[in-house]
Structure formats: C-alpha cells, structure tokens
Amino acid sequence: MNLNSDVGRMESFLRGRRDDGAKLLVVYITGGYEGWEAAVETAAAAGADAIEIGIPFSDPVMDGPVIQEASHAALEAGATPASVLAAVPNLDTGVPHAIMTYYNLAHHPGHERFAATLANSAIDAAILPDLPLVESGPWRQAATDAGVETIMLAAPTTPDDRLPELCAASRGFVYAVGLLGVTGERSALASTATEIAKRCKSVTDKPVLTGVGIGSPEQAVEASVVADGVIIGSAVVRRLLDGSGADGVGELVASYRAALDAG
C-alpha cells in the first residue's frame, strides 16, 4: 500500500472544517488522569475539532512539567494503554481522535498489533513524538495498513530539504512544533511558531497545526494567521491538575474557540 494514498478520517474531517473557513482547534488531554473522559466530551462539546488523547508513558521526553505530572499521576492510578483505549469507543465526541504517546508503547506489542488495537478503539490517528521521520517507515506502513493516520512533527530545526518529505509522509495533519522545547505554555508566542508553519504551508496542502507553547487564546489567534489552527495541551491539562475539572476544561476550550472564530 502506498503510504501517501487515501485520506483518512482525521484529515478529511479537518480539511472539511478548513474549507468551511474555520481555524482548527485540537485539544490534548492525558488519558487515565482522573476525570479525563468527561473532560474529553466537554472539550468536544465546547468546540474542539479533534481530540488528542495522551496514553501515559514512563519517560515522556517531549513533555514539560504539566503533562509530565498528569502522566505520572495517571500511571500511579493504574492507567495502561489498554485501560485508556478501552474507554474511547464509549466517548461521545463527534470528532476524530488521535492518540499521543511514545514509541515504545507501539514497539513493545509490535506495530501490527498496536495499530490494530488503535483501529478497534475508535482512534483515527497517532502521534509518536520520539519517532522521527528517519525511523518511522515500518510503523507508518503498519498504521496505514490498519487505517490509522500517523501525524508527523515538523520542528523549527527541520531543514528545508527534509520538510517536503516529512509533510508528504504525515497523515491527518502536519504538527508544526512551535518552538525549540518541550510541551508547556509560554508567555508569548515564539517567533519560530509562525516560521515553521509558513515553511510547512509552502510545501503541503494538508492541514498544518501549530502546537507546543500555545498559552492563550490570543496566541492561538496569532499562530493561526499562518497555520490552519492550533493544538493546545498543557493549558488544558493544567485545568485538570488544579481541580477545575471538566467544566474548567470546557470553559477554556470555549474561550479558544470563540477567539479563533472571531479571528
């Protein structure tokens, strides 16, 4: 099967929203953290275009303190890939789902088995931030065969000569990493965020979303001038950590939605 053929559910859904003139909002929530299922449903109801569900891993190297803390707490509470994934088909969201986790959780059971588990768990796409393009071929093939889209990350350091290949390999959307660093809110939008989105947009017509470092609705709007939308994670998870619960998450997501819609 050709890795670049067929458009999956994530990509067609996001393309459709983009064609309708919307700026896209993808919301990350750590699976297995207390109250995560309600938070996912509330985020979708408040206007998220897709949900990214974190499967907690013992060594989350791309994550900053907020998501690390949530992942650690979820693991302590007994979360496993199976327990998180088993809950997803019962979630009432109406939007596509991606998982975000680390490669060893796909490597350990084996690519085919992990991809099949995702496909059977109402998961449309996968983000594996420690699986760079050079190492991703076998996994992407297995995922594609199972009908799972692999979303690739483009970094500010990714050279121009690799970007077309990376964007072509990416399915679902292209994840433009907004800054040099790990996940977490920053007080201002990094200049790298606009640059990398612009560079991606110039080589692909797939949706390009900027994530890592988005800390306010204003920054989301600023980032979306060039990008097709944003991914928010730490800002959301912080609401869960501080006890604001699903309602707090819903309010926050609604504020991003309103800002993006107002433009």
């Binding site: 013992s58 190297v61 959780l105 420690d130 350091t157 990493v177």
Partner: protein, 389 residues
C-alpha cells in the same frame, strides 16, 4: 572486526538507531559529521591524547594482584581507570566530547549523572575548556552522592536535582534531553555512556577505545599473550565497551557484569527509550522499569545497543551479581590489594569471586573503572562500625 562502525542508520545488528524528537535529528546529524571529521583530523586526535596524558594521567597502569590471585587461584590483572583524573574512566569520553563541542562552536554542555562521576568529569572538562555546564541528577542520587554534588559546584557547574519519575539516572537523561531540545543551538549534550541516539554509542566507545588499546599492549608486554577473560561492569556500558574493543578480535571471553536489579541484557527484552533500540527493563506493556542496585552508576534500566548486539551474536556474556556479592568484593579488594574500588567496578570483581572455581589458573583482566572514595560514606552505613575497628 567484531566491534566495527555501526551502519549508516547507526545500528549494530538490529540495535541502535536514532529515536529522538524531530527537533534533535539535525543536531545528531551535525554531531555525527563533526565527529567523523574531527576523528580524521590528526590535530584533533593528538590534542585529545595530549590532554588525556598531561591532564588525565594516561596511560593508566596495569596492576597485577598478587595476593588476591593467590587467594582465588585466578591470575587477576587490573586496568587502573580509577587512577585517572576525577577518579574514573569517564574523563576519556568527556574530554573527547568537550573538545568536539568546542570545535562545533557550542559554548554550553549539559550532562546527566547517576553516581556523579560523569557529572564531575563533565564539570571538570567545562572548567578546563571554559564552557558553561549544567548537570542533571536524580533527587535520590543527589542525596546519596552529596560529595559529588559539592564537587560539581566547586568546579563551577550548575546541578539540577530531577524530581520527576523515579528520580534517578533514567530521569536525569530525560531531563537532559528536554534541556537539549530547547537549547540545541548553543548546547552540546555530553552523554555519559555508550547509549542514546546515533552517533553517541559509537562515538563514546571510540573515545574509550584507548582503555582497550593500552590494556592489550600492556598484556602483551607482561605475558606475551592476551588474557583468557576480560571483565567489566555494565551500567550503560562505556567502560566495558572501551576495554572490550581492545580484545573483541582475540579469543578472550568478554564478560559484562550487570547488577541483579538492573539486568537489561539479562532479561533480554528489546525496547526503545533515550534514543536507542536496545535491551530494556520494562513491564508487560512497555513502561520502562526502575533499576535498583547498591551503586547509583549502574542504576540504569537500559544498556548500550552495541552490548545488546554483542550479546545477541554470543560474543559477550552479561551475567548479574547481587548487592551482597558486591559488598563482599568491595571489601575483599580493599583488604587484599589496598585498592578501594568504586561500587560499580566491584560488580566485575564480584563475578570473578563467584566464578573463581571455574576460572582456576586463567588470566582475568578486570577493568577497574573507578575508585571508591565516593562510596565510603554509603559503605559506612552499610557496614556499620564493623570495618572501622
């Protein structure tokens, strides 16, 4: 050659690779190119060896253990990496990487450390070459290796206690990687063992090759032959890789000794973390487990990919020893030879003691990777006053 260069993808057999966030891929490539270029440059290589000689104290001696050999019925030769400046083999790699970082125009080093030996060595190189340095160390290790924390401060380095995850070496690696992701433009990650993404496992082994080269020559000079057995402790595997590389193409048996609580090769399950595909201690779904042993420097759930390869092709063996065996070996070397070994290095001796009956009249070359000064505090707690009387 058995310990040859990895393939283009940085693999030794099926192990190795470059499993890091996309952000770091260009930095790994840049590092690989810079390393190939530097290692082919006689001026770089000669400066490396000059510093290891004039500053580091190389070559390290080969010491014949007369009393211990007689007691065990095994002829034991020690490669004395404990006599290097900063007290362990770690300085070889660190001088190499710091010189390389300077050549690449990087002004800042970050490092992870477990026992503190690699952190101290990195802080030392940073002082020597006038670079900024930040060392990440698990909170648990900060507490059990207080002296090394103070040493790093004296040397002008910042030390950050890592309180995430298990708060030991693996979490210090995660934190150093996170730092590098954010600072890659001016910072070099000075990784402390033959682990991590390509080119680290190969580059770090190359900087430690000097251990094996010297030992090979010293053995020929002493007895006109190579030893029957070469043994070293294995955390990530750098001191073992260094000494193995001098004997991999001989008939010598190669033995890498892991702690029972951190036996990555022993359990033999491949996994991917910290940039590499190698043997990794993990639970039934793939979460990385915490290693636990008496020596902070071996508390690592993974192992360098080349060791996974050497094990998979049957060229090297990776047995494990218990903390109790290590405590006994630690005291034995102190009392019979007047050498207090690092707890890490005592693992290698513990294996020799246990296997002595099967090694009768053989020659065993043991890499004494470090000295035990850093461990006496901890051993005072373990042994109580018994040995101070």
């Amino acid at each position: 050659m058995v310990m040859t260069d990895p393939n283009e993808e940085g693999r030794f057999g099926e192990f190795g690779g470059r499993f890091v966030p996309e952000t770091l891929i260009p930095a790994c490539e840049e590092l690989e190119i810079a390393f190939r270029d530097a290692w082919a440059d006689p001026a770089f290589v000669s400066e490396f060896h000059r510093i290891l000689t004039d500053y580091g104290g190389r070559p390290s001696p080969l010491t014949e253990c007369y009393r211990l050999s007689e007691q065990l019925g095994v002829r034991i030769l020690l490669k004395r990496e404990d006599l290097n400046h900063t007290g362990s083999h770690k300085i070889n790699n660190v001088i190499g990487q710091a010189l390389l970082a300077r050549r690449m125009g990087k002004s800042r080093l970050v490092a992870e450390t477990g026992a503190g030996q690699h952190g101290v060595a990195t802080a030392t190189a940073a002082a020597l070459l006038d670079m900024d340095c930040k060392v990440y160390m698990g909170q648990v290790d900060v507490e059990r290796q207080e002296l090394n924390v103070f040493r790093m401060h004296l040397l002008g380095s910042e030390v950050e206690a890592v309180s995430s995850g298990s708060q030991t070496l693996k979490d210090a690696v995660n934190e150093a990687l996170r730092d590098w992701v954010a600072t890659v433009e001016n910072t070099h990650y000075c990784l402390g063992s033959v682990m991590g993404p390509h080119p680290y496992p190969w580059m770090v082994r190359t900087f430690h090759h000097v251990i094996g080269d010297e030992a090979h020559e010293q053995c020929l000079k002493l007895m006109n032959s190579v030893p029957d057995v070469v043994v070293a402790c294995v955390g990530g595997g750098s001191n073992a890789a260094g000494i193995f590389s001098g004997f991999a193409d001989t008939d010598a048996r190669l033995i890498g000794v892991e702690p029972a609580g951190g036996a990555a090769v022993g359990r033999g399950v491949p996994g991917v973390v910290h940039g590499m595909n190698s043997y990794l201690m993990q639970d039934e779904v793939g979460q990385v487990q915490e290693a636990e042993s008496i020596s902070a420097g071996l508390d690592y759930p993974g192992v360098g990919p080349e060791h996974a390869y050497l094990s998979s092709i049957g060229r090297a063996e990776y047995p494990a020893v218990t903390d109790q065996e290590v405590i006994e070996a630690f005291q034995l070397l102190s009392k019979t030879e007047g050498i207090i070994p690092a707890l890490e290095s005592a693992h290698a001796l513990a294996w020799v003691v246990r296997e002595a009956a099967t090694l009768q009249d053989q020659v065993v070359l043991l890499n004494l990777s470090g000295r035990g000064d850093k461990d006496v505090d901890q051993m005072m707690d373990v042994l109580g006053t018994e040995s101070s009387q």
